[in-house]
Symmetry: C2
Subunit: 217 residues, 2 copies
């Protein structure tokens, strides 16, 4: 498949690298087509990897992954262009973290809304699925970094789109039984509002290689 | 020990019942000393159980448990009286859920604040510890309802107070290794903001007998 990965940070490069490993073609989108980090990533990755503006990448991708800083996401998607997102699976793995007031960050969207919902509302023709935002980038694409069973969450209005994401996660190594479909995109509120607890657990565990497992009888 | 349990709902009666079972004396506090539900609970429970106003109960208890609706907590504690809380361990197991806008509820305190912090700020002489708010009442006092290992979180400024709570939870059946001390009372933000995810997981699991386990290597 052809993927666009929006964002050149640790989440974007980790996700893009995994997708290439799995045989996909990946265009990494950034503000500038000559973004040094994106160019370096593509050069080191090989011919399956490309770089471009957000619009270039979104136009290339059959599936678009939002790996931007959540505070910048809507601006980035506007730069990507509505026509380049229409009808596409748009996988949102970002969090609306606001570091402007120091650490730990607060959330800039929450409670009766979420970043996932904002994206879906702004691009009603896109099939938005929220997932993987509840863990560090390495765990997203290599769940075996965390011992035993633990969960990824999936939220989205389109059941077929959620299934596509479940299949993608399975290709990353996620056992299907460990993928919990929370429901429609409003359930992204729960996944995003978990982040303050995640940040504290990061402090307690001392490793980014942790995750939560939902246990029930 | 002598406990005050503030609140006559399912959380309050479940907690009070468990404390009595463990040999403690419990005064259940409510708005009225003749609250029918509290009187019925005490009559059914025996001589270790008493009822009274919030002030009566808080005056009786060496340890005070806040099991009220989070939206009413500060008003309840004001009714309990500052002198009746001073110096005491105040265990906050409530959530600031706001059902006024329908289901699922939103949080009335969040992001850069939490109910636990509000209580500590309002009663600086009390030793506030947030715990058990991340699960249903039955699981709080009978963790074996959920199979395998799963976690309770503890937040509070006073390490000795946190240790008292860890010991109390151990008496409920919580393995000490399953009790995670998140840190000071500001970490209650994480535990409280997990509630929107809890509510969605309740919908997915279909049982209140579930909880999360933090897994790491």
């Amino acid at each position: 498949m052809k993927f666009a990965v929006m964002g050149t940070g640790i989440v974007g490069t980790t996700m893009a690298g995994k997708l290439v490993t799995l045989g996909h073609q990946v265009a990494m989108g950034s503000r500038r087509a000559d973004h040094p980090g994106a160019l370096a990533w593509a050069a080191a990755t090989g011919e399956q990897a490309g770089v471009g503006t957000f619009a270039d990448a979104a136009g290339f991708g059959e599936i678009v992954v939002n790996a931007t800083n959540g505070g910048a996401t809507l601006e980035v998607l506007a730069a990507a262009g509505r026509a380049n997102l229409s009808g596409k699976l748009l996988i949102d793995i970002a969090n609306p973290l606001d570091f402007s007031k120091g650490f730990p960050p607060t959330l800039s969207i929450l409670n009766s809304d979420s970043l996932g919902e904002r994206i879906q509302a702004a691009y009603p023709d896109a099939r938005v699925v929220k997932t993987l935002n509840t863990m560090s980038a390495p765990v997203m694409v290599q769940p075996s970094l965390v011992p035993g069973h633990h969960n990824a969450f999936v939220s989205g209005n389109d059941p077929a789109a959620r299934t596509e994401v479940v299949n993608l996660l399975a290709s990353f190594g996620w056992p299907e039984d460990d993928i919990i479909q929370l429901g429609d995109i409003t359930t992204a509120r729960g996944a995003e509002m978990y982040l303050p607890l995640w940040l504290r657990l990061f402090g307690v565990t001392g490793t980014p290689h942790f995750n939560i497992k939902v246990a029930w009888g």
